[in-house]
Assembly symmetry: C2
Homo-oligomer: 232 residues x 2
Amino acid sequence: MSAEAPAGTEPRTPLSRDRVLRAAVDIADKGGIASLTMRRLGETVGAEAMSLYYHVANKEALLDGVADVMIAEIVDAVADIPAPPDAAAWKGVMRSRILTAREVLLRHPWAPGVLQSRTAASPAVLSYIDTTLGIMVAGGFTYDQAHHAMHALGSRAFGFAQELFNPAGDPGEEPHPEVLAGIASQFPHLAAMIVDAVHNTPENTLGWCDDQTEFEFGLDLLLNGLDGMRPS
Amino acid sequence: MSAEAPAGTEPRTPLSRDRVLRAAVDIADKGGIASLTMRRLGETVGAEAMSLYYHVANKEALLDGVADVMIAEIVDAVADIPAPPDAAAWKGVMRSRILTAREVLLRHPWAPGVLQSRTAASPAVLSYIDTTLGIMVAGGFTYDQAHHAMHALGSRAFGFAQELFNPAGDPGEEPHPEVLAGIASQFPHLAAMIVDAVHNTPENTLGWCDDQTEFEFGLDLLLNGLDGMRPS
DNA sequence: ACCTGAACACCGTTCAAGT
DNA sequence: ACCTGAACACCGTTCAAGT
């Protein structure tokens, strides 16, 4: 029996920064980032919107916190991956860390946008970068090279690469023939590429533009190029 | 002498989609993308906010239009670059097209964010992609390879790569010694990298993390890797 | 055809006030 | 220490109405 709760009122869990952030992630997961408003967040957490300001300075700070929750989830997912046993193994470890990070973000499609909008790096981010650098240095790179590498990888180091425009419809869907015809008349290279790309997809299982494949292609291009720069 | 203008009233230029879009770009250039609101846009264009809806379906459509203006500016800037004289020249042409696109976007720092938020590709984008593909095919690539290449380049093909977190302060500024000390205790690799990177900057003219250098490093890594894949 | 005024349903945020 | 109510200054968007 809870001591103070008035009759008929759920003795509600007290608010906390942590609970607020987790609720925010939930809302974004369910309705997209645009549905995450201070008012709605207050509602789902069982309080007035204004109460949130006691746990979080403002909406910017809320998003900083949400970004950090995502990084924490990545760090957690990546924790199982063992350190490289020798210098040459750096590439494989880096690769699986990045693909694991990607799996996390695929569960939170709105997260890349939030991460990209943050400008300050939290301790969680610094820590993730630090161990990533450690892997490269263990692989034989200089710190200067590792620095360049981090910039070259960019958001890929965190498991995502923002896809730009997606001509010719949704990924996984075959382009509509008449759309293709319209494109072909004006943009011959584009049309030829679309035809070629569709047919080259293995088994055609995922149709045109399987992002996972493209992500790995770009990632391997970078990792292989970097690997060739190792001093020894 | 203007026929209908009431005394004392500037005979104002009539609104048009084009004038609206140009004004929108102006506002974003001056005050950032957050300052671009329908109400402010109406004001600077000398009309009520509601009048804008006659020329543009809604704010999403406004941003689509703004993105297109940026692409048009890129296409324009890139128009002078001659086609590659032989297959091997594909790389140099691609490189200077991309760096030229980058120059355009450096004048509109808010534009990458807008481009990244668009999902539909306009004819202007399709056209830009088409001639980019043309250069690759002229370089000897198959359409399938060119397709992968476009994905691997990603936003770099349009001249930008979203920088993520920027640990240790603004680019161009030397990291503060005591901040560095704080980092060093927890994140040894990061600290070592920062020290190394600062000293490796040529002449130290641009300090730590010159983005142009990093952009070109990543770009060349990709272009060189791709170049090695050319069939012949 | 083009533009406007009034109104609606939202935002994030403040501040003084409650327990 | 933690939460709230009322209020403020904004948003984007609608709709009927003006010229």
